[in-house]
Amino acid sequence: MKPEVSAAIEDLRAQFGNDAVTSVDDTVGGAYFFIEGVDLSDKFVPRKTWIGGRIVDGYPYADIYPVFIGGDVRRADGRAFEPPITAGHTWQGRPAIQISRANRNVQVSPQTARSKVLKVLHFLETLP
């Protein structure tokens, strides 16, 4: 795991708590991460789930894309998910919902894993 990726994992721990964040070395410079017990807001059932993604060797130039949440999550209003949110995936052995939100501002403001996860959570919370 290269230093920038290790630092990103530590940054996630600082934001979400040491116990909530686990990581697995991808053996080629990057890492898979999981954050347990994140709060998606009352728009979702269950409200709390895990969120995860892969920080690749190309980070911080490379986006963290896509991001996944627990496969059992549904919209509380009963509506189906629409792209960029797609259900029915398996990620790292877990049933997962894929969220394909791209970061288009890397050149303007250097991205961090923490800001990526927070932006995805904000996107979910503010879904129409």
Partner: protein, 470 residues
Amino acid sequence: MKEAVTVRITRRHYDILHGHLFPGGYGEHGAIVLAGLAKIGQELRLTVRDVVLAKDGKEYVIGESGYHSLKATAISPLIKRCRDERLVYLAVHNHLSDDAVEFSDVDLNSHSEGYPALLDIARGMPVGALVFGRRSVQADLWLPDRSRRDLREMLVIGQSVHRLYPRQPRWSANTDKSHDRQVRMFGAKGQQILRRMRIAVVGLGGIGSLVTEYLARLGIGEFILVDEDVVETSNLSRLVGANQNDADNRELKVDVAERHIREANAHARITKLAMDAAAPKVVEELKSADYIFLAADTMRARLVINGLAQQYFIPAVQLGAKVTASHSSRTLEDAISIVRPMRPGDGCLFCNGLIDSTALATELLKEEERRDIAYGVQEPNPSVITLNAVSAAHAVNDFLFDFLELRDKAEVEFLHLSHIRRRNSAVSPTHSPRCTECSCSLPHSRFARGDAVSAISMAAFSSEQDSHIR
């Protein structure tokens, strides 16, 4: 063998420095240059990161001995900055000479008196001096072991690349007869410069194969060829030098390119790297290239070579051809040939939004991960030899005119040639002072840092790990 010292400076920094040293009149003026350092084979390459002009009479003064010198108050903060940022401190002044310049005895004595103390402060970094004539420059570089080196050459890198020497080298009038007609355009000196050059072609597909053909026939002496792919039948419509046997035998594109180069240039020295452009071994090899043609269409190749251009001051160009069609009306919207020069400090592919971070991320996923996240089937992009040829010819022409100084100073511009509209557009790259790659004002940016920071490469493409990614 002693290392050869070279200095590379951007055109912008050079014009600032030269304008200060030679404002008109007969005065002597001073400045301080801070440069990154890279050891590349037997070359010690200094890449100028910052130019600090000394104010006449306040920071560059006549001392008790009657000679000009920089005041300690001007030197002190900069030598400490060099220590902290791993830069080389270079004191600069001018002599009123033209095509040849050398340090005076007074200069050399003052170095002997002052530089041992500066080396102590610099903690492992060299220190030294540059003296400029109007069209010449010499260095006295002190290494940490107190040995000294003078200058082999300075490259002034804008769109065109200007060479300066302590004194003009002698160029032989002998050239190969096969180059006679082109020598009539750029002279025996130009032909010898081409023969001495080490050129990298990254990506040997439709565009890269044409580039190697042109370079081989121009008489380039040494090639670095980078491509991990083998020839396929679908390549034959545009892969110069390849035939059906190559496709049947799944020959490596680097082998086909080597064979094709030797048909035109039997004595060329060729280094073949059948691996990804982001592989650490490739990046290490590319540091010694005089110029890089980037004809591989991946974001990671753009990122890596953009970084090398900024960090080690290696001029490069990104080439491409793009066809866009409307799926609904089934009409061709545009067919474009693209030539994007990469020069240090002049706006780069990264801050101009040409390295898509999401595409980069997906490139670095495993094949099954990429398949899982895709919404639809990825079709191969259209590719046509004539569009490739326009891009390749423009890029090699630029290289020729810029490196042999066949034209005056030209602006760095991205060239987009639309074949549907029959229009050419030249776009000046934006230059962001916050760019982590090309900014000379952002602390810790990659610009001019040499070996002080790691070059971008990706462990996923190390040869032993290569199978992991695909």
